[in-house]
């Protein structure tokens, strides 16, 4: 049994084809695996390795470097509360304490119903809108204890299903390069001169 569904297998082949070397598709394929499965299993890493011509250990080496990849199930909603300076100055520690109390778990934990995982996060590039958090990486700005409670209640009730997909789904729209309009990726060893527009017009 292949790890990827046939649709994802097709996507994986397409993604690999965009890079001059297959190995470059490692991270995008790990995302695809996490999207399909919710987290990264050993089977997923073995399959990604097969597709990008790397050993499972090499794929695991890469995967474990990056915070977004999870190696055990997490809640449907991953709540990341930013604790870096701009947010800290405007009450991030207080917000985290409140969140832990509201959800009944400490940072790093998952609620018993499997709905929420709470994490401490680093700067989310929304510093002017502090304190911030992300739910499955969707930003929430200028969070208060009240708006936090409301958010959790709304998520639990499914009111935000249209805006926030389950953990693992990143972009809901993908790049699709049409074959007839694409230049195509070429391994670097197969290129031995400047591109045509430069060769004609003179290099700089």
């Amino acid at each position: 049994m292949r790890f990827f569904t046939s649709e994802n297998q097709r996507l994986a082949t397409e993604i690999i084809g965009r890079y001059p070397k297959a190995r470059s598709a490692t991270i995008p394929l790990l995302h695809l695996a996490q999207e399909q499965h919710g987290w990264i299993s050993d089977d997923a890493m073995i399959e990604v390795g097969r597709l990008v011509d790397a050993t499972p250990a090499e794929v695991k080496g890469t995967a474990t470097f990056y915070e977004m990849f999870k190696f055990a199930p997490v809640g449907k909603y991953l709540i990341n509360i930013c604790g870096t300076m701009s947010c800290q100055l405007l009450g991030a520690d207080h917000l985290m304490h409140h969140a832990e109390t509201k959800l009944g778990v400490v940072a790093g934990g998952t609620t018993e119903d499997g709905l929420f995982t709470l994490e401490h996060a680093e700067c989310q590039a929304a510093c002017t809108e502090a304190p911030t958090l992300q739910v499955n990486y969707r930003h929430q700005y200028r969070v208060t204890t009240e708006s936090f409670d409301q958010l959790v209640d709304d998520l639990a009730a499914g009111n935000l299903d249209g805006e926030i997909p389950p953990h693992g789904t990143l972009g809901r729209v993908r790049q699709a390069i049409p074959a007839d309009k694409s230049v195509g990726a070429v391994p670097p060893t197969e290129v031995d001169g400047p591109p045509v527009w430069l060769a004609v017009e003179g290099a700089s």
């Binding site: 890469t62 977004m68 390069i177 007839d180």
Partner: protein, 481 residues
Amino acid sequence: MTDIGTPIDWAPGFIANTTPKIVSGRFEFEDSFTIERAMATGAYNGLKAALAKTPAAVHDEVRGATVLGRGGAGFPAGVKWGFMPPDKWPRYLVVNGDESEPGTYKDRLLMERDPHQLIEGCLIACYATGLSQCFLYVRGEMPLAHERIAVALNDAYEARLVGKNILGSNFSVDIVLHWGAGAYVVGEETALIESLEGNRGMPRLKPPFFPAAVGLYGQPTIVNNIETLANLPWILSNGAQAYAEIGSESSPGTRLVAVSGHVKRPGVYEIVNGLTTFRDLIYGDQYCKGIRDDNELKAFVPGGGSAPWFTPEQLDVPFEGREASAEGSMLGSGAVIVMDETTDIPTAALSLTKFYAHESCGKCVPCREGGTWLEKILTRVVKGQGSPRDLELLLEVGATICPGDFPHASSSRLGLEAQPFPYKMTTICFVGPSAFAPIHSALTLFPEEFEAKLTRRDTIPLMSMPVADATGTDESVGAVS
């Protein structure tokens, strides 16, 4: 159109009250990210202007505009492009959209609000220097930016603005949208390349791995920041001369600056480069309007979490690299974090040190071990569990990462003269020094706050202790606290 000076609600944090607008011109439209709006407001005119010239002439135009890199180092883009060896092909463009420096929020805005401007900038760079493929590396924790760029690229391919024979010319280039997966250090350009090759995002040694010479797959590679590239369409449409007339001679154009923390109106502002001062930005009516509750300003981070801190004495420093360096810091990634009089300085420093200690890739011992020790020691000081020796220890550990004098601002209050930027370092990249920078600034500029922490101990709850009372009966007197 939005009222002057109000934040635009569909561009969170962006405040549209400044002129000229070079990179934020389209933000005022709610649908600024669509191809329809982009085309109706002059998108790809810069590309057309570029295609009407030779690549070398486009490179000259960009060189003449002196576009200082907006990713942190401030190196002029046109000059960097010229560092590629003339006879090694192919060459690549890797766009740095990994924005994660504490306090920095501008690249995400540019990606979410105006992806076509970014695509156009990428195309101009590729045309000018013969880059045959472009990889747009976007931080993983930004799905909205991914979605907007994906749609924009799909539309642009459809309109023959990207891909084969762009606008009917012989210029052809693919732009590939690439996902990051969460690691601050990947923003460092050589780590970005490692990551794009499918590896752990650990920085490479320079030399030999200067990307322009030995980059992606060992080939010449230009790494540019999102904002740097977003400037190019305007420059090609309006000319280097017009660009150079804005701002100061050494720092032309505008730049996006995010101001966060204790100001009345935090926001992302497009400011005139080189001339605008920190006082203008923090107190000016068209910018942040002063400190919250009319409190006193205590200190501010002038250029992202890695930058040594300034105090009110440096308010009149302009956004000009050399002047900021002489005063002991840097402008970095255009991020100002403001602390008012109520701020507990050691605690604020700890949040940054924690960040850098956590984000160390582990390749260099002084960063991996030093960062962690700095965090541990400062944590116990902040908790009131430190000893006087700890303050010396912080400086000693810091000196293993950055030997010699560490840059700091002047302080007439303390009789200190500025120690100019930069520093010496024992590590491959700037993550190690960045773990020390906030501690060094805080300790140098506010020593009394650290000393106060050493004389105040947190109350430790004690177990009840049996005591013999005067009557001779042995009774517990309950908890002592």
